[in-house]
Subunit: 167 residues, 4 copies
């Protein structure tokens, strides 16, 4: 007999204000081509909670949309969560200097399955170089058990200058 | 001026029959706790096209739900697609012997962004051992350009026997 | 016409007693087919300092043999050091239970070059499962700067029982 | 009390002419700080056989110095061989344009042990970008069996110009 699962929680889209709170780049958000609620992050419910000084945290609440069909969190969900947290946290730091961030590689190992609660991702910048940042991300369940780890390498590149950039 | 993007395509759920066609495990599908359309694979539109003899193919059509907010395919989408294809293709092979498959690690490198069309994933089993399978997955765009590569390691474990298993 | 290669360079073997101090498996050491000083670890000077309870430390002193031709520590040296430390530290734990350990994968990122002093590797077991252990290894220079990180996955398998194994 | 370590073992250096044949950068070789025979590559016997047009081959002959103490090729040996082949092959291409190459990451999976013969490494550039190259390396034994795979990411950076560089 297989366990009943919670219903999917299909994304009552957060208000723009909520996204400003959690994304940390209020001035530039409106210019992005895809509103966050319609992106992969929005559809899966991946959230950035904070990002500053080479540390960042994110989370994703357990839901069917986060799982493979056995009802455990999909390997791709951990990878996507780590990718988002590392990319956004790099962005927060480099965007004001006229740079942008994009993922180069994502190496995720799955240690223990999650079947309920929340996936808590905490990220630490191992390296903050001129052209690449390297992040270590730990994914834990509600009991603090380490369930997956990711190493994410982010490329930092010059972007077209915009009003408000630092000199 | 940023480009207009196609609208999201929020998953008119395929019929059970369609999933049987594409998943290759018709006899066991109904017993899974989460129907595929409600999983991460279903929500993002990740599809397995074929899986046999250490080769497999999958795809995901470009849509906002597959992207980060700049409108390019999210790194997590490639990782999830590779994870699904490698896991399902291992399952197809080991399930009849009374075993199951689950992801151990997923290492994805991002080579070139995709902004339209379809992500085509082709997977090749590098190793088919008693306890682990290792897959190389190439992700290409509609022009055949290599846009990301994944290496996925899958654990193979005994599962509880079910009717229809080989001796 | 390709050059003849130098012969392997066996060097002065440390005494058995010395290896007992650093390797932690005194009872089985003499039975290994290749004495440590003639292995890759011996030839490169990779040393295990301690291993217990899911933690381990190793080191390698800077020398030309550890470098590529620009005089910085070779990427393969970090990978080899992490591989040795993780494998040996798993061995110390699983060997008495009649099991052995062998490397499955090694993912190493290079953050900052080392040109002198000692490479200090500290390893932490992220996962200690029945069939796999996963280790995170940090490589630091003499100033404590993080210069490379490795994630090493080790397979644990039954081996032929030997005298002295636990029941 | 820890054991004294063997001294580095410089071995009989191949002639400059021999290295020119196998390294492909005759004009710059003499200026490197560490002669190849004294590097990790030289000490372990890792050889580059050819490198051109995004393809490269290398090899290492089985010897105790290439092994861990069970007599199988050390995981670090595969990683080091892949690292050397990918770095040197990138160098061959970018050096004449005033750039240099250095390893960023090395992800190696071990599929099947090698206990004799030669490790044959064949490398293919998956991506040749302005700032990074990504290589896939396959390691095979004398029977053509796939024994390990590596993905190596190489950073490409401007270097100080030298006589003979292209404009």
């Amino acid at each position: 007999m297989l366990p009943a699962l919670p219903e999917p929680q299909p994304s009552q889209p957060p208000s723009a204000a909520e996204h400003r709170d959690t994304r940390g780049m209020p001035d530039v958000l409106d210019r992005y081509p895809v509103p966050v609620p319609r992106t992969l992050d929005g559809v899966l419910g991946l959230r950035l909670l904070e990002a500053a000084d080479g540390e960042a945290r994110g989370e994703a609440r357990y839901a069917e949309r986060l799982c493979q069909r056995f009802g455990v969190v999909h390997g791709g969900a951990y990878a996507a969560l780590a990718e988002m947290v590392a990319t956004e946290a790099t962005m927060v730091a480099v965007w004001p200097q006229g740079e942008t961030a994009m993922g180069m590689s994502n190496d995720t190992s799955f240690l223990s399955p999650i079947r309920s609660g929340t996936v808590h991702a905490s990220a630490r910048a191992l390296h903050r170089g001129a052209t690449t940042w390297v992040w270590a991300v730990e994914h834990r369940d509600d009991d603090g058990r380490l369930c997956a780890v990711s190493r994410v390498t982010i490329a930092v590149r010059r972007r077209r200058p915009e009003p408000g950039d630092s000199a």
